[in-house]
């Protein structure tokens, strides 16, 4: 049973080895002098479209963005399901209408729940 996963372990090893090599090759080439290295202060500063950074570069984003992103994804998926349905509506007949409405209904329950819980309010 466990040996079935040995291939995956091997895969992980290969991936890690590959990633490490890719990081190390330029470093090694830099050591030999093949890759030019001209460090300067400006070069190591954060890139902000050529402007100087004002304040901290590493800022924290509000966790509430996460809720919005999550709700948006559900909406996105609804659209992805609706689109092929709409294209094939003629062939599927009127019975598909009920199916799709129950699908939207299930999602709507979730949405209304989130709404009532105040997930859409910015606090």
């Amino acid at each position: 049973m466990l040996s079935e996963f040995s291939l995956i372990a091997l895969f992980i090893l290969i991936v890690m080895g590959f990633a490490t090599t890719l990081v190390l090759i330029p470093q090694a080439l830099k050591k030999i002098g093949i890759v030019p290295s001209k460090p300067s202060e400006v070069k190591y500063e954060p890139y902000e479209c050529g402007l100087e950074t004002i304040g901290e570069t590493w800022v924290q984003f509000k966790i509430r963005y996460y809720f919005y992103a999550l709700l948006l994804i559900t909406l996105d998926i609804t659209v992805i399901f609706l689109y092929p349905w709409a294209v094939e509506l003629k062939n599927l007949g009127s019975s598909s209408l009920g199916v799709i409405f129950s699908f939207i209904g299930i999602l709507a329950v979730g949405y209304i729940y989130a709404w009532r819980k105040g997930a859409l309010e910015w606090k």
Partner: protein
């Protein structure tokens, strides 16, 4: 003067103005691109030449362009990068929005002194080795705006230019010719130059 998050917009404007003034007064003469190495007869052995060939082949086949396009010449560049002229043939179709990925800057457009510090900073943040193509009359001398108080009279005031392409704007074919020239230049580089 330091800029902080609580600086007023007046402070920021003043800081920016000072930067521009500084850059302007310090770049009255064109920067010359050191081209001595092009005709250099370095005694090279076979190993070095082979390494150079491989490196330069890689470099010239993946000249990734930084998107720092300031004015109308850009449209000729856009035309060049789309299917009709197809710079994907040279491995150049990847336009990078970060200087960390780019090794070529094509100066498509008029440069004003207000934008100059930004372009210079982007150039300084690019990875080595880096190349600059001055595109269009504005890129070379400031073009029809050369007399203006606000226009940089040629990108060579702030950047070392490798290839100049005249025209207002240069046709995509001219740009292709310029890119060919740059590729020839890249081929001649030896890694001993650092």
């Amino acid at each position: 003067m330091e800029i902080r998050t609580d600086s007023t917009s007046l402070d920021i404007d003043r800081h920016e103005g000072n930067l521009i003034k500084e850059l302007r007064s310090s770049s009255t003469k064109p920067v010359t691109e050191p081209s001595g190495w092009l005709s250099e007869d370095l005694k090279r052995n076979i190993f070095l030449t082979t390494v150079d060939n491989v490196l330069n082949w890689g470099r010239k086949s993946s000249l990734w362009t930084e998107t720092a396009f300031t004015a109308c010449c850009t449209f000729e560049f856009i035309s060049l990068s789309s299917s009709r002229f197809d710079i994907a043939r040279f491995g150049m179709e990847v336009l990078r929005s970060s200087p960390r990925h780019a090794d070529l800057i094509i100066t498509a457009g008029t440069l004003t002194w207000k934008m100059a510090p930004q372009i210079k900073r982007v150039y300084e943040q690019m990875a080595e080795p880096k190349w600059v193509i001055a595109m269009g009359a504005c890129g070379i001398t400031g073009g029809i705006f050369a007399d203006s108080y606000s226009v940089v009279p040629g990108y060579n005031r702030i950047l070392p230019i490798d290839v100049y392409i005249p025209g207002c704007p240069p046709r995509p074919e001219a740009l292709l010719a310029g890119i060919e020239l740059l590729r020839k230049k890249v081929e001649k580089r030896s890694f001993l130059q650092g």
